[in-house]
């Protein structure tokens, strides 16, 4: 399994000899989603703290718990949706390069590409935990009475160095995933290395540019 990280070309070449199977990729996405869910749970708790004056005290505990669980489940579901969306985009772009192969195979190989993002997800959770429990309490953030302004209030928090570091590491591991996807697409859709690179680079570049924009670096 670790060969997908060090020598993805040989890994996918070997997988091509077997039947398409989504069990392991789905498990990878589930683990990635659970980790993202933990981060979402922590962010929700922080968001609820900002809304402490907008909500009655007795509702705060319930809202935090329910909000956290909803965010957790949402993150898991969104991880699966993004998996499918990415695979569909790659499949669509590779179609222009006369790619051949089933969508299921593309979905399978894109799923393997999520392994680096499990590592970045763990790092992100550690940073998030430290931020929420050690840095956030020392910050003086005015309470938000209008829930519509929560995003505005969260903006400076997410631009703190710790959060920026977490995002930057996420981008690096996304590049690693993209590298795996290049070899995955090459074999799954029978593309040249160049065409596979272009297929992966376009959506990933758009995604990374959007992430960098979110970090406020642009």
């Amino acid at each position: 399994m670790l060969e997908v990280l060090t020598n993805p070309s040989r890994f996918f070449e070997a997988r091509m000899k077997g039947e398409e199977s989504l069990k392991i990729p789905a498990l990878i996405i589930l683990i990635s989603g659970l980790i993202a869910g933990i981060s979402a749970f922590l962010i929700t708790g922080m968001t609820m703290e900002l809304l402490r004056e907008a909500l009655p005290p007795e509702a705060m505990g319930i809202a935090s718990t329910i909000g956290g669980i909803v965010a957790f489940i949402g993150a898991v579901v969104v991880s699966f949706v993004i998996w499918v969306v990415f695979a569909a985009i790659f499949f669509g772009i590779s179609y222009t390069f006369k790619g051949e192969g089933k969508f299921k195979r593309t979905l399978e190989f894109v799923g393997y590409g999520y392994i680096p993002m499990i590592i970045s997800g763990i790092i992100s959770v550690i940073f998030m935990y430290y931020f929420v429990y050690y840095v956030f309490p020392t910050m003086s953030i005015p309470s938000v009475t209008d829930p519509a302004k929560v995003g505005e209030a969260l903006e400076p928090l997410l631009k703190s160095p710790l959060m920026q570091l977490s995002s930057a590491i996420g981008i690096l591991f996304m590049l690693w995933s993209a590298n795996i996807w290049v070899f995955g697409l090459k074999h799954a859709r029978n593309l040249t290395t160049k065409n596979a690179l272009i297929t992966v680079a376009i959506p990933v570049a758009v995604y990374l540019l959007w992430m960098i924009y979110q970090m406020g670096a642009m």
């Binding site: 990280l5 060090t6 993805p8 020392t138 928090l157 160095p161 690096l172 690693w176 590298n179 070899f183």
Partner: protein, 382 residues
């Protein structure tokens, strides 16, 4: 012989005349002024007082009709009217007559006269000695500390003396000085040649020359009088006070939101202990104390002792200094406050410029090398 007879007749007439005159005198009743009272006993110039005389019918069986009574004086002004048609005074009875006077004259002894006229009675002319003495009460400093220090309580003792010949009443010392407590000391009556002491506490808030104004108020009879006293003082900084100084100040930027942790030592370089020492962030625009150390309680700080402290503060983008307030009390409970300004230097580690801290960059580079290494390795192996 012709000359002897007229002479004899003349002598007889004189003897008869004298005898008949003595008979008429013996028929008039006897009234007397038996006592008098002056209030106040000694007047000051322009004081208003009263003279009360007691007229007594000395007859044992005969009443007397008092027609009028009046007081005459060139120096003392008589304010009250004369008495007319007073009425009959029974045998042995007495009557008090009161006259109001005003001492418009300089100091001295004056003799206003009382005239009492009665029907079938002797007229009375009686002079009463009235003393006018304008000597006021004296007020002076009995005790005063040699050195008076800023924000330290100093005890001031004033002595009030009565050099007058009579008792004065309602004696009190008042002051409007805000830094003097109490604002009034009531002494009450003060007999002739008596003195009493009043104590005040003075806690100056500023150093330099001060003049404390006291007013001595008293009553001579119903007349209000006052005397002022100015006490010049020179207030200096205490030489023996606690003297708190800050050393080893470090300002550490905390991750995010312009929050800084200020740490250092607070030292007592004075000769006295400082009690209940509390350090806090002062009020200033763009500066806000933060949890967990909005304030830091040091407590007792003995002379030549020190303690560490820690404060968390959020500083606005444009602020470069943080006011640090140090509060402590002396052994008398007097509160002292001093403010030190700590400079905030924004290094790379701060987020104000939007740049990432160095440590973050190092972590990022390491991770980037690792990821790029993995990618490069995978391309070599393909």
């Amino acid at each position: 012989m012709r000359q002897t007879i007229p002479l004899f007749l003349f002598l007889v007439l004189i003897v008869v005349g004298i005898s008949s005159a003595q008979v008429v005198e013996e028929q008039k009743s006897s009234v007397m002024i038996t006592s008098y009272q002056i209030s106040p006993e000694v007047l000051m110039r322009n004081d208003i007082g009263t003279i009360t005389v007691t007229v007594n019918n000395m007859e044992l069986y005969k009443s007397v009709n008092i027609k009028d009574a009046r007081m005459l004086s060139r120096d003392i002004k008589v304010l009250s009217d004369s008495y007319f048609n007073i009425g009959r005074l029974g045998p042995g009875e007495s009557l008090n007559l009161t006259f109001t006077i005003k001492a418009i004259c300089p100091d001295g002894i004056y003799y206003p006269r009382i005239l009492v006229e009665g029907e079938d009675a002797q007229n009375i002319r009686y002079s009463i000695p009235v003393t006018v003495d304008s000597s006021s009460l004296t007020i002076g400093i009995k005790d005063l500390p040699e050195d008076i220090f800023k924000e330290e309580r100093a005890r001031i003792e004033l002595v009030v003396g009565n050099p007058r010949q009579n008792t004065v009443t309602a004696v009190k010392i008042v002051t409007e000085e805000l830094e003097v407590i109490p604002s009034e000391v009531f002494i009450g009556a003060l007999s002739a040649d008596e003195s009493k002491v009043a104590s005040f506490n003075f806690t100056p808030q500023t150093k330099g020359a001060h003049v404390l104004n006291f007013k001595l108020e008293f009553k001579n009879g119903d007349n209000h009088h006052s005397t002022d006293l100015g006490v010049p003082l020179d207030v200096t900084e205490s030489k023996k006070n606690a003297e708190l100084i800050l050393t080893g100040i470090e300002v550490e930027s905390m991750s995010g939101m312009n929050v800084f942790k200020i740490t250092g030592d607070i030292n007592n370089a004075g000769l006295k202990e400082a009690k209940s020492v509390v350090m806090k962030v002062g009020d200033s625009e763009g500066v806000e104390a933060m949890h967990p150390y909005k304030a830091y309680f040091v407590g007792l700080l003995n002379a030549d002792d020190f303690s560490s402290f820690e404060l968390d503060v959020k500083v606005g983008e444009n602020e470069t200094q943080v006011p640090l307030v140090i509060e402590y009390k002396d052994e008398d409970g007097n509160l002292f406050t001093m403010t030190e300004h700590i400079s905030i230097e924004r290094h790379q580690g701060t987020t104000s410029s939007g740049e990432l801290p160095l440590s973050v960059i190092v972590v990022l580079v390491v991770v980037a090398i690792f990821v790029i290494g993995a990618i490069v390795y995978s391309w070599k192996k393909r």
